[in-house]
């Protein structure tokens, strides 16, 4: 039962009733069960399994309702929880968790505890109130999906819960939504002997403790959105809390099985009393838009919504369309990261429904500046739709008036293509190269053809022959990419075949940057191709991550700076860097483990083996390997840190430039570009927060110093506040 209780928290009252009935029959069973639960709770807290721990606490508190646990002992446990807020020098997120565990159990057991121990409960609630008043909330803006408070404020999760509990108390703890099977068995249960919880001391805070991130409560619907159906419980009602908790639990239980998940969501009890479809859609979008990251992989939510539409074809698609419309209407204040997710979801969803959508409803965006959120959103959606189909399809599915937002035809731009370009420097070499490559030339032959290319940077030529020559790079990369333009596979083959040439031309940092520039020039109509080429070039070490970062912030890309694909490339680059560090680290740990096993084997063989001389020789190669790997790890970690520093530095430069320009020009700082850029900076912090935590001291002392403009510094301070 314990495992089931932990794994199916949305059905907890069924299992607590079961335990209650068993306890009534067999007092010892109840005692052992409670003891085992407490042990499990302690274990969870030790290994940072805080979400599981909350469900265990809730289970224990519901056992009070089933007469298994005596109410006063539960109150005592909660007193210990709340007293964590008095601890000194502990992170706020620690106190937050204990507060949450207490408050979130009250919908289940508040009534019973208040009836038995009202004075103690009043004291706990007033301690709660003073804690909530004094805790800092600098982190909240970073986690909000919208910057506007209308129509629904994005409340910090503890604040919202507190409002809900206060209202519950005002309603005399009457809670009507939770199904309570034990009420039917009251006559049996009230005869049972209750157990006292052993005194529970919260495990102390350690360096290894990692508490849950703070959250913001996502709301997009209220009772006015479904006027025909049952009334949606208000945002500060405890029913709303319980429904949302249970729906989130169902997704957590069944995320791997989309059909089961959809069926379980739709069979949530109370279907005729609450507008269930609205709750489900809201909870799913809450997870999809959650900052820093959704609890599960994004594509799961797309497929889950499709399954739900299949199961409720007469009602759910309409709610989803309504939700889409609402999200579109509020794009102006939506966080850029969330807009990214909206774009990905909507385009993928449409591709499963023949791209059918009432685009004319959105023609208001056509009269706006293309950089504004609404037209930008539609452009990005259409581009993503094209990636899942083809260019002509997109032209066909939108009204003619939308052509200004349609994506470019993803064709390659070859500057040496036309006879009319023959006056361009390098034109003849390009022709030569084309013929040579078509005739299966080797890398050496390519080098000898390229030797004839003059270097526009004559003075930089130190006579070695392989200094940075932008024209060589241009001619070679343009020609090769043009010849390989047919498909991704063709381009990848080209990169592989002429890897040597690439490595040589791109040896210097300027070389790497120029290669990236030329790739962009050739493929600027086909962002998807740019992304896969950059990925391949990093993986084959033609360019490095820092070069990509510098390229993204370069003036050549300024025009595309706010486009979604640029940020996909940057985050993909950072992820590759992170995975690389983890991989080498893992190799190091594995080699160390092998050495340890070798030592252990030798120690156990010592009695039998008289040949001690071989031991040092055996260790040799492994020890050498470990030393090499250690160096590799350090070098990779240093490269990783450098990457983040470069990115932050460039952001600071870019944003400062904008702020200074606005200040001197007397214009409003808050342009669409600025909003996008500052939120992209936030996104770097949020998406890679675990790695960046390691660099806090450097960041504080080197980059995010007090002299920085307060607009930029605020982002850093919000980030620091997240796990403070």
């Amino acid at each position: 039962t314990q495992n089931v209780a932990r794994l199916l928290p949305e059905k907890l009252t069924v299992y607590t009733t079961l335990v209650g009935l068993l306890n009534a029959r067999n007092y010892n069973f109840g005692g052992e069960f409670v003891e085992a639960m407490i042990r499990q709770l302690k274990e969870c807290l030790k290994v940072n399994m805080y979400n599981e721990a909350v469900h265990l606490v809730r289970f224990l508190s519901d056992l009070v309702n089933c007469h298994v646990i005596a109410a006063p002992s539960m109150v005592a446990m909660f007193e210990n929880f709340v007293s964590v807020t008095q601890e000194e020098d502990v992170p706020q997120v620690r106190c937050d968790w204990y507060m949450f565990a207490f408050l979130s159990s009250l919908p289940w057991v508040g009534k019973e505890l208040y009836e038995k121990k009202d004075a103690e409960m009043d004291r706990l609630l007033s301690q709660t109130e003073s804690y909530l008043k004094r805790r800092q909330k600098i982190h909240v803006p970073m986690l909000q999906v919208w910057t506007a408070d209308k129509p629904h404020p994005q409340e910090e999760y503890l604040d919202c819960l507190w409002f809900q509990i206060q209202k519950l108390k005002k309603d005399r703890w009457q809670e009507r939504h939770i199904l309570r099977p034990y009420l039917a068995f009251d006559s049996v249960l009230c005869e049972a002997l209750q157990h006292n919880l052993p005194p529970f001391t919260p495990p102390p805070h350690t360096e290894d403790s990692v508490y849950p991130m703070p959250r913001v409560i996502f709301r997009m619907f209220d009772y006015t959105d479904d006027p025909e159906g049952p009334v949606m419980p208000g945002s500060h009602s405890v029913e709303r809390f319980v429904i949302e908790e249970n729906l989130h639990c169902i997704i957590k239980s069944h995320w791997k099985e989309r059909k089961t998940c959809a069926a379980q969501l739709l069979s949530y009890p109370g279907n005729n009393k609450i507008p269930l479809n609205y709750h489900i859609v809201e909870v799913i979008f809450a997870e999809l838009f959650q900052l820093p990251s959704p609890p599960h992989i994004e594509v799961m939510y797309t497929t889950l919504l499709i399954e739900l539409c299949k199961l409720q074809p007469g009602s759910l698609p309409q709610v989803l369309a309504q939700a889409t419309e609402m999200l579109y209407m509020r794009l102006d204040t939506m966080n850029t990261t969330c807009v990214d997710r909206f774009i990905n979801w909507f385009s993928h969803h449409l591709s499963n429904f023949q791209f059918r959508w009432s685009w004319e409803d959105w023609s208001d965006c056509l009269t706006q500046d293309l950089e504004k959120p609404k037209p930008k959103f539609v452009r990005e959606v259409l581009e993503k739709c094209m990636r899942l189909s083809y260019h002509q399809r997109i032209i066909d599915i939108v009204p003619a008036s939308f052509s200004v937002l349609s994506p470019a035809n993803p064709v390659c731009i070859y500057k040496y293509g036309d006879e009319s370009n023959r006056s361009l420097p390098g034109y003849t070499v390009a022709l030569c190269l084309t013929i040579a490559i078509k005739n299966k030339a080797s890398n050496d032959e390519i080098f000898s053809i390229l030797k004839d290319v003059p270097n526009p940077n004559q003075d930089d030529d130190d006579g070695e022959g392989f200094t940075f020559n932008p024209l060589k790079i241009e001619v070679f990369v343009q020609t090769l990419l043009h010849l390989a333009a047919k498909s991704f596979s063709h381009s990848f083959s080209a990169l592989a075949k002429f890897h040597e040439v690439f490595k040589t031309l791109a040896e210097s940092d300027e070389g790497k940057l120029h290669v990236l520039r030329v790739v962009y020039e050739v493929w600027k109509n086909h962002p998807q191709m740019i992304a896969v080429l950059v990925d391949k070039m990093i993986r084959t070490q033609i360019v490095d991550c820092a070069a990509v970062a510098n390229w993204i912030f370069s003036s050549e890309l300024a025009h595309d700076f706010t486009r979604f694909y640029i940020w996909e490339i940057l985050h993909s680059t950072i992820r590759k860097m992170n995975k690389h560090v983890l991989k080498i680290h893992k190799e190091l740990e594995e080699t160390k483990a092998r050495l340890a096993r070798q030592h252990k084997r030798r120690d156990s063989d010592d009695d039998d083996d008289d040949d001690d001389r071989s031991t040092d020789r055996e260790d040799g190669p492994l020890e050498e390997q470990i030393e090499r790997l250690q160096e590799k790890v350090e070098s990779a970690q240093s490269e990783q840190k450098n990457l983040f520093l470069v990115i932050f530095q460039r952001f600071i430069m870019l944003l400062t430039e904008h702020l200074v320009r606005c200040e001197t020009g007397g214009i409003d700082v808050f342009t669409p570009w600025y909003k996008s850029c500052i939120e992209r900076l936030q996104q770097i912090f949020l998406q890679h927060h675990q790695i960046i935590q390691q660099y806090m001291v450097t960041l504080e002392n080197l980059l995010f110093t007090a002299e920085l403009d307060h607009h930029i510094l605020a982002v850093f301070q919000q980030f620091c506040a997240l796990q403070a």
Binding site: T1, N3, V4, L7, L8, S253, K256, E257, R258, T260, I297, E298, V299, M300, T302, T303, I306, N344, H348, S351, N352, Q354, K384, R387, L388, S389, Y390, S487, F488, S489, Q528, M529, V532, D535, S572
Partner: protein
């Protein structure tokens, strides 16, 4: 208290399990094949339109993780796309997510099907039907505009 029935439901991951299909051309024992399938990062993708491009496949399957390689299935005679492909990921977990969330959804308006593959070997990119395409297109009776119209045997009538 035995809840093993419920517990197995809770651990269920049926979308990521091996199917009944085993490649008859596989060189090795059943056991070898299954061992490879269980640690594979490669998926077979079927029921594609002949017109579906590598780029489209990359975009869709990229949603579950970084793709190492896409190998388009080709007609053995014509050397043109014949409606299937292989998608190889760097990490098995990403392939599992594709099985959970991309299998059974649409690409080019067609419900596509994914299955574990023991790993690409040269030659496996070709259809095994007598006419050069996939076996399923040899004998089918229906008209499928995205897969060359009628089945080959019907066409030859």
């Amino acid at each position: 208290m035995s809840c093993s029935g419920t517990l197995s439901i809770l651990r269920s991951d049926s979308y990521a399990e091996l199917s009944q299909y085993r490649d008859q051309h596989f060189r090795g024992t059943r056991y070898d094949q299954e061992r490879l399938l269980r640690k594979s990062c490669t998926l077979y993708v079927g029921n594609l339109s002949f017109y579906t491009t590598e780029e489209q496949i990359h975009e869709l399957f990229g949603k579950s993780g970084d793709i190492k390689k896409v190998i388009m299935g080709l007609d053995k005679v014509k050397k043109t796309a014949c409606g299937f492909c292989f998608v190889e990921y760097y990490a098995r977990g990403d392939a599992e997510n594709a099985m959970r969330y991309i299998n059974g959804t649409r690409l080019d308006d067609r419900i596509i099907r994914t299955d574990w593959d023991a790993g690409f070997k040269e030659g496996r990119q070709y259809g095994r039907g007598r006419s050069g395409g996939q076996v399923r297109d040899e004998y089918r009776q229906d008209y499928d505009a995205g897969r060359g119209g009628y089945g080959k045997t019907v066409q030859c009538q």
